[in-house]
Symmetry: C2
Subunit: 256 residues, 2 copies
DNA sequence: AATTTTTTGTGCGATTATCGCACGTTGCAG
DNA sequence: CTGCAACGTGCGATAATCGCACAAAAAATT
């Protein structure tokens, strides 16, 4: 199990949970939804879904256009609470930008959330974003990306093993590693702070190197670099990337 | 009134609204909160606050560390639904990046949310972000920034007047315009598509130019540029900025 | 260090907000 | 124009929520 909710069963608010499910069902593929659609997706009665959606409308998180509903930019304010509270704008982003321009290559930062790695920041994004369409909040598969695997290397051994055993394992390309045993070999026992490389497993022709690190506050994160695989054949390039990642991790360790 | 919720009173879920208030009270200045603090901020009974927070913990939106609670990265997934749904990663960001590098200057994109302008994207952020600490989801005052005022210029005249009359008006610097009458002169009657400039009103020594636009889908947005005021004395620079903003707005109009 | 005072965590019954059925309506297709 | 299906919404029964009261912990005071 990824999180340890310590089994707090029924002193949680059911209505609130349903409401959050409604909010969550506005995802990347569902820009606008009608009330019946929402009810079906969340397995709610139409009347219930209606009341919850109207609550979101009244509070400004959702906009109504005729009979269809869509998220309003206000949802970003919630994310802003997280980002600004941890000083992503003031402290993290500048560090990332600095090392990205020094390396001349994009860098990205991710944190784990359950079975996913979540994109939390990036710098020098000219190359990577248009191709993959990543934004803040994008979810990456934990086991099929170097960022995700790097996050695993700093996890407690028990958690690491559990995640390798249970996290979804999809074949994205023909080079994807789909054998959990092989994954355990790759990242099951490496010491924390080992750079992780993946070539063409998630996206053909793209190689990525990532480094997980444990922050002073205890938070886990991973920084990564992604570029065309060809670049990695240039002498010294992999070493340069890894050195930058190490320095960047060291700089970020105290900030989060 | 900014939004028109059309007075849907009591077919909204009270519990859900309270839960969202709890989620919202984790803002930039409150990274970690205890249950009693949350209860006080949201004016809730401690037991109620507890149940709502534990719900957030169980669903993974909040992390518990001893007696204090803080947002988890999962909150970004909600924002990701908005960002990816509108193709910010795939379509919007590349356009922004393109024009930003062409101009050699940072560009930023904002949308209105009530009395605030909300930062939704930026490109070429080396200069502006470290200084102001803006992130996706940052809230800017509508009347005191060029981005905010540009958003007003594309609003319906009635809404525009209402916002000029009612939106908060804080003096950020000594150059801030704090007279609503003067603001009405500046932006109350200009035609949609007029660039808006502000010099040192929000931040001393910084001049910003912004342009509001109405997208094909009806969404309102504004793109802006911000730089040291000195740059604007170079001949041709203001014109170059405005031309870029116009082209960028035209390119974005069909995307949102 | 011991005691007082304040603050916090949580069980339980009354009450109230919520659920989901039912009906009336709207949009769509034949 | 008619029939059908999907949708929006009032209302009573019911179950989830509220907030009090108590216990425990922490903090402040003596």
């Amino acid at each position: 199990m990824p999180e340890t909710p310590e089994i707090q069963l029924s002193d949680t608010s059911l209505t609130f949970a349903k409401g959050l499910a409604v909010l969550k069902c506005f995802d990347a593929t569902s820009v606008t939804l009608t009330i019946p659609e929402i009810a079906r997706r969340c397995d709610l009665d139409r009347a219930v879904a209606r009341r919850l959606v109207l609550t979101l409308v009244r509070l400004g998180y959702v906009r109504q256009r005729g009979r269809s509903y869509s998220l309003s930019p206000r949802i970003l304010v919630l994310a802003g609470g997280f980002l600004q509270g941890r000083r992503f704008g003031l402290a993290v982003q500048p560090v990332l930008e600095g090392f990205a321009t020094q390396l001349g290559q994009p860098l990205m930062l991710a944190m784990r959330d359950g079975f996913d790695a979540i994109y939390v920041a990036h710098a020098g994004s000219e190359g990577v974003m248009p191709r993959l369409g990543f934004t803040v909040g994008s979810r990456l598969p934990l086991l099929s990306t170097s960022l995700g695997r790097a996050l695993l290397t700093v996890e407690e051994p028990a958690t690491r093993a559990a995640l390798i055993a249970e996290a979804p394992l999809t074949a994205w390309t023909e080079r994807s590693v789909t054998d959990r045993g092989r994954l355990a070999q790759l990242i099951g026992a490496v010491p924390a702070g080992t750079p992780v490389r993946a070539s063409g497993e998630f996206e053909p022709g793209v190689t990525a190197t990532s480094l997980g690190f444990r922050c002073d506050g205890g938070e886990l994160a991973a920084i990564g670099h992604s570029s065309e695989s060809a670049l990695y054949t240039e002498p010294g390039f992999p070493e340069q990337v890894e050195a930058t990642l190490q320095k960047c991790a060291a700089a970020l360790r105290g900030l989060l």
